[in-house]
Assembly symmetry: C2
Homo-oligomer: 125 residues x 2
DNA sequence: ATCCGTGCAAAGAATTTGCATACAT
DNA sequence: ATGTATGCAAATTCTTTGCACGGAT
């Protein structure tokens, strides 16, 4: 996938330079400052595209709106259960080790991993 | 919260007895076999209620539809990137340790944890 | 009698899509 | 010239909500 549209490049750029893990509407509002006639549909299409190309990741969570992260290195997220803020943590962070061992005050964590299930592995194609 | 409606009890029961981590529509279809005039709004209202009461959990993920889990013990999910199937794993499972150490073939994992961020901790109330 | 939950249908929010036009190669 | 991406608006999909009625305590 090439990045030859201004829109796509600007969306990717914006995601690389923010720490707020924005949703589509927030990306739209921000990039519109540079490209005023940007449309929301274009944001959605490009987020799909960028995600499938592995240049961006959707944050796994319990949001009512998809949130995106321009940092595709392996890291953990802390998600505030009150305000929804998302913070990045390295996997080596002490807090994470504490949580995994049940020694932290955080209310909980989720560990989800991805891959092909057995059935899908068997299928040709 | 009491469980004194047939509908709520049936929804909870269904979630406790399935391993498919269903979405609201799947719960609706299943419970309707027993309570044919059940409405979808009631399913949504009860899922909210049950989640807030901690009797059920929404699965954190990248779905386009919320998925629910009647197992509220701490465990991990394996999510197939092709068909979307969700499988349960205990946190002690060897595969998880392997993934955490980068020794597994799974494409990736996410570790998200929840709690109050600093700002929200500071707020009165 | 009171409170809470329900079914139904309408409303709302988030996301996707069709189409004619415009841009990149 | 050809591919692909865009803006716009309509359409879909998922979820929430208002309201009058029914069931539980």
């Amino acid at each position: 996938m090439k990045n030859y549209s201004r829109q796509r490049a600007a969306i990717l750029e914006m995601l690389k330079n923010t720490k707020i893990h924005p949703c589509a509407a927030e990306i739209y509002a921000e990039v519109r400052k540079t490209i005023p006639n940007l449309s929301l549909g274009t944001v959605y299409r490009n987020l799909d595209e960028l995600e499938r190309a592995g240049k961006v990741q959707r944050v796994a969570g319990k949001f009512q709106t998809d949130r995106y992260d321009g940092d595709i290195t392996q890291h953990a997220h802390f998600i505030c259960t009150k305000c929804g803020k998302i913070e990045d943590y390295s996997l080596e962070h002490k807090l994470i080790a504490d949580i995994m061992r049940g020694r932290s005050k955080a209310t909980g964590f989720i560990l989800n991993y991805f891959g092909l299930c057995e059935d899908c592995c068997k299928e040709k194609q």
